[in-house]
């Protein structure tokens, strides 16, 4: 996640020092810094990542684990609703316990964050890698290659992704690690948007002078792609990635919600939402915690993605630059 908070914005252009991209990235980062919403979002995401990474430590601190049942903490006669207020929150169980099982919600939410973030970021990485590769190939390849890849992309866009994902996750053997499977399924089915953006950008860039110059200087097709096109594509791709992450997070939640995500007893936010849905009135805390976390995370990613897009947009940039200068001159 730090990847999206700033530093890596400069990364893609780093190897090609001296090109205009470096300057643009630096400027974008400067502009981004001045937007409080973006910084708050980045902070929230950073905190979430830290919490997820530190899950075992925090669990030890609370003295609970994600799987232990506590039959004595739920009212069996009333459907297994936790005793006490706010879902049975106490000094032992900071955020209460799960109805029916009495498992600790705090620890399950932390471990759930691991799955949700891992799957969302992993799937985005797969989508971006595939999308860029296929988009570039379509943009640079012959008309025949472009046509073929274009049709494949169209088909993928038309496919009902969730249904296909359910079918795919259902046929894969149970022993296959589920988070990896989710990353692959969501990644392999969701690259079409990226590839379309990259192809369009490539077609535009191809006709620009610096690309033509590179070709004339004797660069091969792939050298041009690597040296000239990729750095120029970084901005739109990074922006799109920031939008894809929250989308993927929701897809993971939907799949787990429908019972084809991670397998029990592994917690994930989607799986928690799925079991929590009927408990809204009887035990609101149980629903609100995972729902609230998912909401905050998706919102943070979206706000940050939007900010990155604005910061990298040359048209927005010219407008913003005035403000920046003013601030600098002060």
């Amino acid at each position: 996640m730090t990847a999206l908070t700033g530093t890596p914005l400069a990364d893609p252009s780093a190897p090609v020092a001296g090109t205009p991209a470096t300057g643009a990235a630096r400027q974008a980062w400067r502009r981004l810094r001045t937007r409080p919403a973006a910084l708050v979002s980045a902070g929230v995401l950073l905190l979430l990542v830290l919490l997820a990474v530190a899950a075992p430590l925090l669990a030890a601190l609370e003295g609970q684990d994600a799987y232990a049942y506590h039959d004595d903490l739920v009212d069996s006669a009333r459907g297994g609703v936790p005793y006490g207020s706010f879902g049975g929150a106490s000094a032992d169980h900071w955020l209460g316990v799960e109805p029916g099982t009495g498992r600790d919600l705090f620890v399950r939410l932390l471990y759930g964050a691991r799955i949700s973030l891992l799957v969302a970021v992993g799937a985005t990485a797969v989508q971006i890698a595939l999308g860029v590769a296929i988009g570039l190939a379509a943009g640079l390849g012959s008309r025949w290659v472009d046509g073929l890849l274009g049709r494949i992309t169209d088909v993928l866009v038309a496919l009902p992704m969730l249904v296909l994902a359910i079918a795919l996750t259902a046929v894969v053997p149970r022993d296959f690690p589920r988070p990896l499977l989710l990353i692959l399924v969501i990644g392999l089915l969701g690259w079409a948007g990226t590839s379309r953006i990259v192809r369009a950008q490539t077609l535009t860039l191809k006709s620009l002078d610096f690309v033509a110059a590179s070709r004339l200087a004797g660069s091969g097709r792939w050298r041009t792609a690597r040296r000239e096109l990729l750095p120029a594509l970084a901005a739109p791709v990074i922006t799109y990635a920031a939008i894809l992450v929250p989308t993927n997070m929701v897809v993971e939640a939907s799949l787990s919600f429908l019972g084809v995500g991670v397998t029990p007893p592994t917690p994930s936010w989607g799986q928690m939402l799925s079991t929590a849905q009927t408990w809204f009135r009887a035990d609101p805390a149980y629903v609100l915690l995972p729902a609230g976390l998912l909401f905050v995370t998706v919102l943070a990613f979206t706000v940050l993605g939007d900010a990155v897009r604005t910061a990298l947009d040359p048209r927005e940039a010219s407008r913003l630059r005035v403000g920046t200068r003013k601030e600098n001159s002060r």
Binding site: Y67, A77, G79, P99, R174, V251, F257, T278, F280, R281
Partner: protein, 577 residues
């Protein structure tokens, strides 16, 4: 976003179900818990009156509304309003409701000495909805057509029991009829069986024993308008039973029917509804919903948590029991479950409190240590061969594992389904996993979607060693409960096998045959109970829990009767005025 729409729809349904609680006052007190036997809600107060319209809100449509195609008697459900049978359930709440009583016949059947021949005499004055008299030939014809391949769906008992039943192909192909069903005169019918079957009167409650006039039979289309012998007739049937309208059958004579009360003038069945929506509508009870019931929807745990804190609502909840057992099944053909000590260790390690909570809590499930349900009619004989206590005995389990040669514990795989049924579902499986973990048994979960789950557990060839299973009774007696599960001759190698343990013990088989000869149902029940206790020693399964049903009714509903035969609200007893 495509994917989010799925969530929003489900969440919307959930939100609706939660409105159920909106009328709930916050005063505490779990009043409505654990009362045993079918208790009718307090809403049943006041003398029931004739008239009005009863609305039935169901989730499943009443498909295949043909007496040949319905499985078992339909209990308190819609079919028993239209179809009368030779015998029927005793329409009383609780344990009294698991008795067989006469319906079209004058008694529950007269057996010959070894219970291979059963004779029934029809009451006088019985008529179809068109006024023509019901004769024994109509009943014979109804039974014969249930053998036709195009009218499949009924229970297999007649095919297995009647002489020539296994080869008969139904009246459309074989005009001669079934020789083992004899009608010496218009009011007498005799059944000739291959083997002694003391529980035949229970089977005679099934809708295959409904009279069908041969002249009105339209084959597969008969279900659109089956000819009524009961208090109501079908006026409208839309979308294969999704919307049914029943009105009074003027030719039904209450003097011939002691069981069905038939208070409402009209019955309006609406199905295809979400379960949460049904419960919410019944709780709110606005408009026609105040005179509504459901015959297929139960209260869930979260809804119960809410109802528990609202006395007015709790008074409208009825409790039902149905002979049903959820259990952990072993296949001793697979290692390490061939080892008795391993099976015993698992029996000791199970934490039934966690399992019951996973099944919805003590109001929706009762811990089980016996395979037979805790009802007298089944011959329930208490036993607990491997006492795990309330929360399991991991120490004893570890010791047994050591004796079995697994001092460092072992790893096993548990097959379960991904269906959200709180019976073979992931919640139950994880509760078992957690408890066994404490005894050093690492359980890997193998969750499969319901179809492949059933295919696997019902297969002799592919059945894994350890899986969740469940069994319900076709009628409240030991026979249909124990025989399919433990009779070695009922191991089905090329179809659905329910004898998961593949037990083929000559002593058990012989005792089953002996009990089937008894026509004294009470004596038979005692023997079934003793047999259950004896088989229990082999640790071929770990009984987990028996489900309990909580049924909510609309606020104007009177005379709520829920029997232990099916645990379903008896729609023939309900009044709306």
């Amino acid at each position: 976003m495509r994917q989010s729409s799925v969530i929003s729809r489900r969440v919307a349904a959930a939100a609706v179900s939660l409105v159920l609680a909106s009328g709930a006052a916050a005063c505490a007190g779990p009043e409505d818990t654990g009362a045993k036997g079918g208790t009718a809600g307090k809403a049943a107060a006041g003398t029931p009156q004739k008239g009005g319209t009863l609305t039935v809100l169901n989730s499943e449509a009443q498909t295949d509304f043909d007496p040949a195609r319905l499985y078992t008697s339909g209990g308190g459900n819609v079919p028993s309003l239209v179809f009368r049978t030779l015998t029927t359930r005793n329409r009383e709440a609780g344990a009294a409701g698991s008795k067989v009583v006469p319906d079209l016949a004058t008694d529950i059947g007269r057996p010959n000495k070894d219970a291979t021949e059963w004779t029934y005499t029809l009451k006088e004055g019985l008529k179809f909805e068109d006024g023509t008299p019901i004769t024994s030939a109509d009943i014979k014809y109804g039974i014969e057509r249930s053998f036709a391949a195009e009218l499949s769906g009924g229970a297999p008992y007649l095919r297995d029991w009647l002489v020539g039943g296994d080869t008969y192909e139904g009246p459309f192909k074989d005009k001669k009829g079934l020789a083992s069903v004899v009608t010496p005169d218009d009011r007498t019918i005799v059944f000739k069986l291959k083997k002694p079957e003391g529980e035949f009167p229970f089977v005679a409650t099934q809708t295959q024993f409904t009279p069908v006039p041969k002249a009105k039979d339209t084959g597969a289309k008969y279900e659109e308008h089956p000819v009524s012998s009961g208090p109501y007739k079908v006026v409208k049937n839309e979308n294969d039973g999704e919307r049914l309208t029943l009105e009074r059958n003027e030719h039904w004579d209450p003097k011939t029917d002691e069981e069905r009360k038939a208070y409402p003038d009209k019955i309006d069945v609406r199905s295809g509804l979400d379960e949460a929506v049904i419960n919410q509508r019944l709780a709110t009870s606005s408009g026609a919903d105040s005179a509504a019931v459901t015959t297929d929807t139960n209260l869930g745990p979260a809804e119960l948590a809410q109802v528990g804190s609202d006395k007015a609502l709790a008074a409208r909840v009825g409790t039902g029991h149905f002979g049903f057992t959820n259990y952990l099944a072993f296949n001793p053909k697979v290692k390490p479950f061939d080892n008795l000590k391993v099976r015993q260790a698992i029996s000791y390690a199970v934490n039934r409190t966690s399992v019951v909570n996973a099944a919805g809590g003590s109001a929706l499930a009762e811990p089980a240590t016996t395979f037979l349900p805790e009802q007298k009619s089944f011959g329930f004989t208490p036993y607990d061969h491997f006492p795990a206590g309330k929360t399991g005995n991991p120490e004893k389990a570890k010791q047994l594992l050591k004796e079995a040669g697994f001092p460092n514990g072992l790893t096993v795989t548990l097959l379960h389904s991904t269906a959200q049924n709180r019976a073979t579902s992931p919640e139950i499986a994880t509760a078992v996993q957690e408890a066994l973990g404490k005894a050093g048994i690492t359980v890997k979960l193998d969750g499969q979607e319901p179809n492949s789950f059933n295919e696997k557990r019902w297969s002799v060839k592919d059945a894994p060693g350890f899986f969740l299973s469940r069994w319900g009774a076709d009628w409240p007696a030991g026979g249909p409960f124990l025989a399919p599960i433990f009779d070695g001759r009922q191991i089905v190698t090329n179809g659905s096998n329910y004898n998961h343990a593949q037990l083929n013990d000559p002593a058990v088989n012989k005792e089953i045959d002996e009990i089937n000869k008894l026509t004294d149902l009470q004596a038979a029940a005692g023997r079934w109970g003793a047999l259950d206790k004896k088989i229990g020693e082999k640790a071929l399964d770990v009984p987990l829990f028996h489900p309990v049903y909580k049924r909510l009714v609309g606020k104007d509903i009177k005379n709520v009767v829920i029997s232990d035969w099916t645990g379903v609200l008896d729609i023939s007893q309900v009044a709306v005025k």
